[in-house]
Symmetry: D2
Subunit: 340 residues, 4 copies
């Protein structure tokens, strides 16, 4: 860590910084220039908070040299992490295809959609039983009933099931039914929830927070990994910007950036990023071209009647045609899409 | 709700929208213009999700007429909500002054700081026992031990205590010691936590999320209110923008905007907004001038040695002098600051 | 335009709004609901400024029904605009490939790079003679000398040349040498410059402003079109967000969104969006998959020594290999890339 | 400047960086750590572009030690710059009060408003003759005619006049009538315009760009100063964020931050920041409390009929009452407001 002091910092202030560095078990190397004094903190800076220095009045700025995350970094593990669930893989040269409704609304609809997406090439099912909703008056999901229908859909198709966990008190319940636990964007920094799924023996999809930086996202993955669970799938779902034309701005650069920083697989959720049916295909195509390890697509048999997020859901026949076009792009980058 | 269709929307599409509106118990009023068809949904649109329409391919945009929140809105209740805790008030013509360390680090420091801030004019204590930290390797707070020290500080000074709750499983524990429960920015959309504090009989400070819109913030307050707890204090603490000069951008406009939309008191946390000691005073002054109902200030007796957020904390003697200057601004707008 | 009044708006206020609407030549249709009064402005609302209403104290919000731009909209012209320059086309089913150095640094380097990119598949040359630089102390471009070298490079390769115009006083000079005039991101709302290039008979590349919305970008294109020049090429180059991992956030969604709103071709500049060599290829691939009509790539024969933006420039041999890989993605979406 | 290389950077890459540093006239100091190699560039780094390094594939990050601006920095000149125009001062312990209409719409209105604001305490006049408008179809200002009316208003009141310059070709015309030249937010990085006003002998108001960082804003001021004109007034007018409740987010922190970094005076434009009448007073109050050197307020005698930005304009009688309340806050911070 390198700490740049303001012009005119006093000897006492320099000494205070040096002592603070040493109290963290690092050594301090001070270099007094003509315009600025710079202090280097040598040692494992991960134990030190940059904020612990940068708010001080006589500090101008602080540069971390090392990354604040470790277990999830590419420096720590060179090879790509590949996650296998019921014979299906995420990472390692294929594009996993998760599909299903936003919310599980009933047994019949769930099993029907599952059959349709499976026959179109999806190799993972998705569906929400617990739904984080902005309004307390909106449909909050079917709860355990929804989890059962997901399990029924898995039985009918053989595909592994991913679903969201919102509350640490539900972890046993959700883990009983799900193959993959999803942590939603609004819970990306719900650190207690991260710690709990870190103790599980199941893969976790960690969605990027609404305005999380890539470093914060990887730090949240580090929370999970630091508890022992290394089966983490990162999911880009768009970030909040000033642009109103899309619900979120899909940050396609995040895919190659994360893959260079981390060994974990990265998938993309174009349905939530765009919030519009018509953008799901171009964003899916862009994600594949940029190197995604998977796609998560909302499919509903009656989008107009969906209880949540209907309008960004594709009809099964539209999904089928889209998968066939996306497979060509996937082939062009040397990867297989879903079970195609 | 007004739904504008894309040019060339078909009769079938218009009918689908009309049916969807009716299925929510509202009536549809369609007006076909030369360039666009517009459909009005008449009735209590709070039960309808704008997103349920705006993602549809043939919908161009959707305008809500009514606000999506109700109980917390100024339309619902004209008079300002005033919250009273152990004889101290928030709202109603005074500027409440919360002060204390970021984290409770020990009994002695907590009691010492409490005494110092009380004698300088603070009328509420703050301090974290459970700390949400970006890094799993950072100090996470003293837990129950910290809560006990907060209670000791209350005993010593008579001031009510506010502290953060991070996990629904800790609610009984935290409520046993705290007078006011704080929900942190990262948990603003932890809907399960909101629901739980909504069932409590204690005031709640709801911090604005890192990149929450004012409407989303009020919707989170609505979650709490809809469970029966109307003692909600909103806290502006800066939002995430592209500007790197400050940790967050303190959105001073949010104070008058929220006060026009809602009857709830709004306080400001300039320490977290700025992330720098030197900005705490000008931002506090700005908040008072803009109409804040309270301030939340971090004070530490040894900022250089603080276990978290030290550098944005003020030394007790600096705090004392600041309070005296801020009191003059407070008088200029006709309000009393703290116990001054 | 639909104007929603605040609860309790008075009859006088309603009348003021109605008169203001009529003074713009539109008719007012007022509907008084139980919770809100809504006033519709019927007629050509393009002549009315939404801001002229939304700042009024008794107005809650304003919804435009029609788009504020006309000539550049897809409603106005259904078919894609195709621009032809010296036998090369932009739009209409191909991916145009612009390549060259950020700044023209000398005759020899310009001609050499031009030859190399032409032989690798580029069908347009790019290079800056006038450079907008954040610092007054940085290299500002070779000026007319640079324009001459660009013309030499065109002569040597036969490829049309695009270069930036920064000042209305330089328009004749730049137009004498360039085939396509580029308006940079920082000048997207330099309305005088837009008006001037609107009077030219040459194609214009209009880069998206650093934090321009898509609507503002199209409004700037409307400035050019309203002067009579309809040969406009829009260029997405990344937007400003809170994320520090990339210089800008490449908004890949803007490509399909703009193509649905406008008939104009849209190209992408992944070099400036990312600011990093290693991201140029994945972002180019993403742009092609999402439907771009062209790419603008910085190529330099000695990136380490470049006078500006060197490090995001590709070496000619890297460019050549990238073009060959991107051609496969381009084929997968049924388009030809450059002259390949 | 400190350059951190990626793990595994080769000797050749280290040498390339060292040579690039030396080619800029600085010396390179390389330190090879166990995890990362760090290279310090010692000397006047202002001549070196950080971007010239940070895009290189083997570079992880770059930290500037020195500020990229010089003449406008507080390091260069410790004392506050005070600007005097026709006996009125900006900076140095007072709050200058600029008031007037957004656009000059006629002689009579301009002179009338000028008289009213002067009698209420304004000590500078403002009014636009050349208006940057998002739409080519909107009112673009009266041009020279407007400048004449401004001069008439000055004659009638004795107050100095500030007005906007949009085009380098108009500089002589505008300078003939105006006492202070304003550069609008959209032209903050119109570097040719900055260079031209840098050659003038008149004070310049430089508005912050829509999404300019504070450093970029100061770099634009440096453009003006580097041409010899040091009479620069910075104007905070809100930045673009994701929050839709206000037209822009007024960045009140920018006032103390800029005053710590630069010796130049900083004024605030709450009318444009908020876009709403009702927010002008609280934001003005906040700016004064945070240390602003001036306010710029839109006042119109018939806001409903204004040709531009009417609704954020105050009526003269509202302005008068606001000035009287703001004077109390100004007194509380020890400053005089306007001519009060």
């Amino acid at each position: 860590m390198i700490i740049v002091l303001r012009q005119g910092a006093t000897d006492r202030e320099i000494r205070l910084i040096e002592e603070k560095i040493k109290s963290h078990g690092l050594s301090a190397h001070t270099s007094r220039g003509t315009e600025r004094t710079i202090i280097g903190a040598i040692g494992d800076e991960r134990q030190v908070d940059a904020e612990a220095f940068e708010g001080l009045e006589y500090v101008e700025k602080v540069l971390r040299i090392l990354k604040p995350y470790k277990l999830v970094s590419r420096d720590f593990k060179k090879e790509d992490t590949v996650i296998e669930v019921r014979g299906q893989r995420i990472g390692g040269g294929a594009v996993a295809l998760f599909a299903g409704p936003c919310s599980v609304e009933g047994r019949e609809m769930m099993v029907e959609i599952a059959g349709l997406v499976a026959s179109s090439g999806a190799n993972f099912l998705r569906g929400g039983a617990f739904k984080p909703r902005t309004s307390p008056y909106a449909f909050q999901g079917l709860g355990e009933e929804g989890l059962k229908y997901l399990a029924d859909a898995r039985e009918a198709t053989g595909l592994p099931v991913a679903t969201e966990l919102m509350d640490p008190r539900d972890i046993d319940l959700v883990a009983r039914y799900a193959d993959i636990i999803q942590i939603g964007a609004r819970n990306m920094q719900n650190f207690r929830l991260l710690t709990e799924v870190g103790k599980l023996g199941k893969p976790v999809i960690l969605k990027r927070g609404l305005s999380a930086t890539i470093v914060e996202w990887l730090m949240s993955a580090e929370y999970i990994a630091s508890e022992g669970n290394h089966q983490i799938i990162l999911c880009e779902r768009g970030i909040r910007t000033y642009e109103p034309a899309t619900r979120n701005t899909f940050d396609v650069s995040a895919i190659p950036v994360v893959k260079s920083l981390s060994h974990l697989p990265v998938i993309a959720d174009p349905s939530h990023a765009a919030g519009k049916m018509g953008l799901v295909e171009p964003l899916s195509a862009a994600a594949i071209a940029a190197g995604t390890d998977g796609l998560m697509i909302e499919v509903h048999n009656h989008p107009e009647a969906a209880l949540s997020d209907g309008p960004q859901s594709l009809r099964p026949e539209v999904f089928r045609e889209m998968v066939s076009r996306l497979s060509r792009i996937s082939s062009a980058v040397g990867k297989k899409l879903g079970s195609a």
